[in-house]
């Protein structure tokens, strides 16, 4: 049987739209499920109180604070190292074997499973450097995991700045660093910020890297220093789902909702930054 081109066109079109819908469907189903089942669990007390009764009741305040604390310290390490490394690779490094090796290493770093980062962090920071299970050890582990995201997006942002900006700046007698500082970085900033936010949201949601390096099973108080353990949302969710019997579903799903909400808000920021950048970009 010969199918007319008009029909193949229709069939192909339907198939393609079906695939698109199938791709986004899980996202909506997950969010809907979490909102429906977790929504009733959200209350002021849930967000601001300590957990009680073996985490079956009360709130998740320490886990929220712990996650924010951990992510902030992570960024303290990841942003300067990531951005400066990218600036070096794009603006300074000449094209030689070492540079290519570093770039390949960064790409590979992005592909390492997160549990491996967790074990690495345990071995290096917790045990060898004697930091113990602490915010510092966890943040450093997460920072290493986030670095490839930040480096890659910063590199991309830097290379979208037209070469002519650099030439103009240099031709006016600006030094290399002045050129980067005044002609390149300001124009790459929105792209860099987007990358940072994406890295941040990834760090906020990871369980495996924090498992051995920072996460506390049950610790109903707020951290005092870098060397404290903290509860963090992803790990807390894991504990509620598998380690504690008879937890009410709205507590589990409520925790998931808070975590997803935090990550989505961060991603929304990235989208807004990018949109404003597009509007301003005129070259």
């Amino acid at each position: 049987m010969i199918i007319s081109p008009r029909h193949t066109q229709k069939i192909a079109f339907s198939l393609l739209s079906l695939c698109t819908v199938l791709v986004i469907a899980p996202v909506f189903v997950i969010i809907a499920l979490i909102v429906i089942r977790g929504g009733p669990g959200i209350s002021w007390e849930f967000l601001t109180a300590m957990p009680r009764m073996g985490m079956k009741a009360g709130g998740i305040f320490p886990a929220i604070v712990g996650t924010l604390y951990l992510v902030s310290v992570t960024m303290l390490f990841a942003i300067p190292f990531g951005v400066l490394a990218a600036v070096y690779l794009v603006e300074y490094a000449r094209d030689h074997a070492l540079k290519r090796f570093v770039e390949v290493a960064i790409v590979n770093l992005a592909g390492v499973p997160s549990i491996v980062f967790g074990l690495f962090g345990l071995g290096l920071f917790v045990v060898f450097l004697k930091m113990g299970t602490s915010i510092l050890a966890g943040a450093l582990t997460l920072a290493i995991m986030t670095l490839p995201v930040i480096i890659t997006s910063t590199k991309e942002a830097l290379s979208t700045v037209p070469r002519s900006f650099r030439e103009v700046s240099l031709s006016l007698g600006a030094t290399g660093w002045q050129t980067i500082r005044h002609a390149v970085l300001p124009n790459a900033l929105p792209g860099i910020l987007t990358g940072i936010v994406l890295g941040l949201s990834r760090a906020a949601g990871e369980t495996a890297p924090v498992l051995f390096t920072v996460a506390a099973f049950y610790l109903p108080r707020l951290p005092h220093s870098f060397f404290d353990q903290v509860m963090v949302l992803p790990y807390h969710l894991y504990v509620l789902s598998t380690q504690v019997p008879n937890v009410k579903p709205e507590v589990q799903y409520g925790t998931a909702l808070v975590l997803v909400g935090m990550v989505l808000i961060l991603n929304l920021f990235a989208v807004i930054i990018r949109a404003r950048f597009r509007r301003r970009k005129q070259w």
Binding site: F165, V168, S171, L172, G173, Q282
Partner: protein
């Protein structure tokens, strides 16, 4: 004599872009550089302010002397402050009109508001743009027309007070009226600066240059007074190029 070029060779990897150029550029003259595409005239220009240094695998032989000093031995930022450049396309930075002109002086350590304002006004007047933009210095440079942008770029170059200004086909994207304004500015600038003008438009070279250099396939065929080049060139190829028989 402002600049003396001695047996200059430039290679990009295996490409021999300039083949033994020797010439002089005189103080307060407009030297036109003409020649077909890939003749080396832009490479020549970018060697003078060492913008060629940015290219990969670039190699240079011979010497370029400015006021008797080897440009390879001058600090590159200071060299580029003394030898300014106006590019083929108007390339404003994504800043306001004021900040575009003030960019260079700021990089050289001038931060006083009054001083910067004076420099900006003086530079914009010298490039014949002041009257058109004086009421909107804080608006984006991208809002200007192409011709205005190019005159803004000239003002930006003037603001760092160079001694030599290199023009790399500055009118290639401009309409005739804007071109006339840029040319008018160049003739005025000659009083204070030494100008090198690379152009694909031989008529433009004839209109504004004092002397003209003809480049062909990386060689300098000849350099002579403008009227001599256009009426009675020494080399056949120069005459053929000018009358449009090739190139």
């Amino acid at each position: 004599m402002k600049i003396k070029v001695e047996d200059l060779h430039v290679y990009y990897g295996s490409i021999h872009a300039l083949k033994g150029i020797s010439m002089e550029i005189r103080r307060n003259e407009i030297l036109g550089a003409i020649g077909p595409a890939n003749s080396g005239k832009t490479s020549f220009l970018r060697t003078l302010n060492r913008l060629n240094d940015l290219e990969l695998h670039v190699r240079m032989e011979g010497q370029v002397l400015m006021d008797g000093e080897d440009i390879q031995k001058i600090n590159v930022s200071l060299l580029r402050k003394r030898i300014g450049m106006v590019f083929a396309l108007p390339l404003p930075l994504p800043l306001s009109i004021f900040d575009n002109v003030a960019y260079g002086p700021r990089m050289h350590g001038i931060h006083k508001k009054k001083e910067l304002a004076d420099i900006v006004e003086k530079s914009l007047k010298a490039s014949y743009l002041w009257e058109e933009v004086k009421d909107r210095l804080s608006s984006s440079a991208f809002k200007l027309s192409g011709g205005q942008q190019q005159r803004l770029c000239i003002a930006r170059t003037l603001a760092v007070e160079p001694e030599v200004i290199l023009f790399d086909e500055p009118c290639s994207g401009l309409d005739p009226i804007s071109t006339a304004k840029v040319e008018e500015a160049m003739l005025e600038l000659k009083e204070k600066y030494t100008l090198v003008l690379v152009t694909n438009n031989t008529k433009q070279a004839a209109r504004v240059s004092d002397r003209v250099a003809f480049f062909l396939m990386g060689e300098l065929v000849e350099v002579d007074g403008t009227s001599k080049i256009f009426t009675n060139p020494r080399d056949n190829r120069t005459g053929e190029y000018i009358t449009g028989r090739f190139g």
